[in-house]
Symmetry: C2
Subunit: 229 residues, 2 copies
């Protein structure tokens, strides 16, 4: 027993709630557990924190190990630490969350997990531990965040059309949006650059392609501009 302490310590883990978007709607990335407890059960990817890495680094590492996903922008969600949430003993979990494009990110099963797959957020399988609660908190956070921050842009290809952007927001906000009002609002935000290019190979009038200007966005954000959509 190589590691001893004067007082007992909880185990520390990180979990990653990864939301993905495709034409069907909002998805969440889950893994099938390969070990006990809850073997064979679906769960949110995550694992133990190493002593020399930050919490976010740990989350990023576990996510890549278990799903192959890398370089997503992770944000801290909440820390779950009630006694009894893990049958192995006291485990405290710092949960992170992110939004990605589903199609751009094919997932593979990896080391610690039997397999990884996307599930509709509205209809998830039964989950291990208190992961149903974790998913709920994350979904709540996503909903409230979408309203006042332009998270959506991360989910599109670098160059995208306004219709694609609108479709994305309609899925995230789960309501139809008026085209003209949406375009007015988005253009007024002043964070899109017209690339001068248009869509290729479409069987109808090609739409203009825009690009998100992150630098400009961060500038405006600092000066307190309201990014409500």
């Amino acid at each position: 027993m190589p590691y001893s302490y004067d007082y007992p310590r909880p185990a520390l883990t990180v979990d990653c709630v990864i939301f993905g978007l495709d034409e069907d709607g909002l998805k969440v990335l889950l893994i099938k557990r390969g070990g006990e407890p809850f073997r064979g059960c679906w769960a949110i990817p995550g694992g133990f924190v190493d002593m020399d890495e930050s919490l976010e680094q740990a989350a990023r590492r576990e996510l890549e190990e278990e799903t192959g996903l890398k370089s997503v922008y992770l944000e801290q969600l909440y820390t779950f630490g009630d006694p009894g949430r893990d049958p192995r003993g006291r485990v405290v979990t710092v949960a992170y969350w992110a939004l990605t494009r589903v199609l751009a990110e094919p997932v593979r099963a990896a080391s610690d997990a039997d397999s990884a797959a996307w599930f509709a957020v509205d209809d998830p399988p039964k989950l291990a531990f208190d992961h149903a609660r974790v998913l709920e908190v994350a979904h709540e956070r996503l909903r409230s965040k979408v309203r006042y921050q332009p998270v959506g842009f991360e989910l599109l290809p670098r160059d995208f059309t306004l219709s694609q952007l609108q479709q994305l927001y309609e899925i995230l906000l789960d309501r139809p949006i008026d085209k003209r009002n949406f375009r007015k609002r988005v253009m007024d935000l002043d964070v899109l650059v017209d690339t001068g290019e248009v869509q290729q190979d479409v069987a109808h009038r090609a739409a203009k392609l825009y690009r998100f200007d992150r630098r400009r966005y961060e500038q405006l954000l600092r000066s307190g501009v309201n990014f409500e959509i």
Copy 2:
């Protein structure tokens, strides 16, 4: 060495950033550390999590032990876990925060701390560990929360005048507010009950006393009403 594990574990602590309000402005509750490291340095109250208590219970317990403060409404803020933030080794801290009335909550030094005192948030002393950063994150959270949730009501006596409420918001938002617009806005929220009473013992026209209707507020909140002030 009574507690042994197969893998090393970080120590887990909780910290409480307690904001208080008095007529001078926004304050934060700090303790003077009685032990090493950073002995004699001011710090955010907190301590180690016991194995059989939830994170929030731990925060509440440490807060009472170190400052005498109890039954405040704590909310989870953020979890700080970078390696190197504590010279004793890897320590992960789940930070909580709360708003209280300063005058209603005289603080005493207690067990783990030499003394406890309120400091102006804008002009804190040099703080132990990465507590300056923790305070900054908490202050940021407070500022953004005040805008869209009626946190202020917690800080007033059960029965209060609209002028007191306005003064409170002026301090929290750090800007003057027009009296008529403020009253209109607040009354439109429809969460105040007219008690029928008025102030006593004031050397001028006595103001009506109102009470915050928490039940009504929670009802409206669930139905998606906007509580921006």
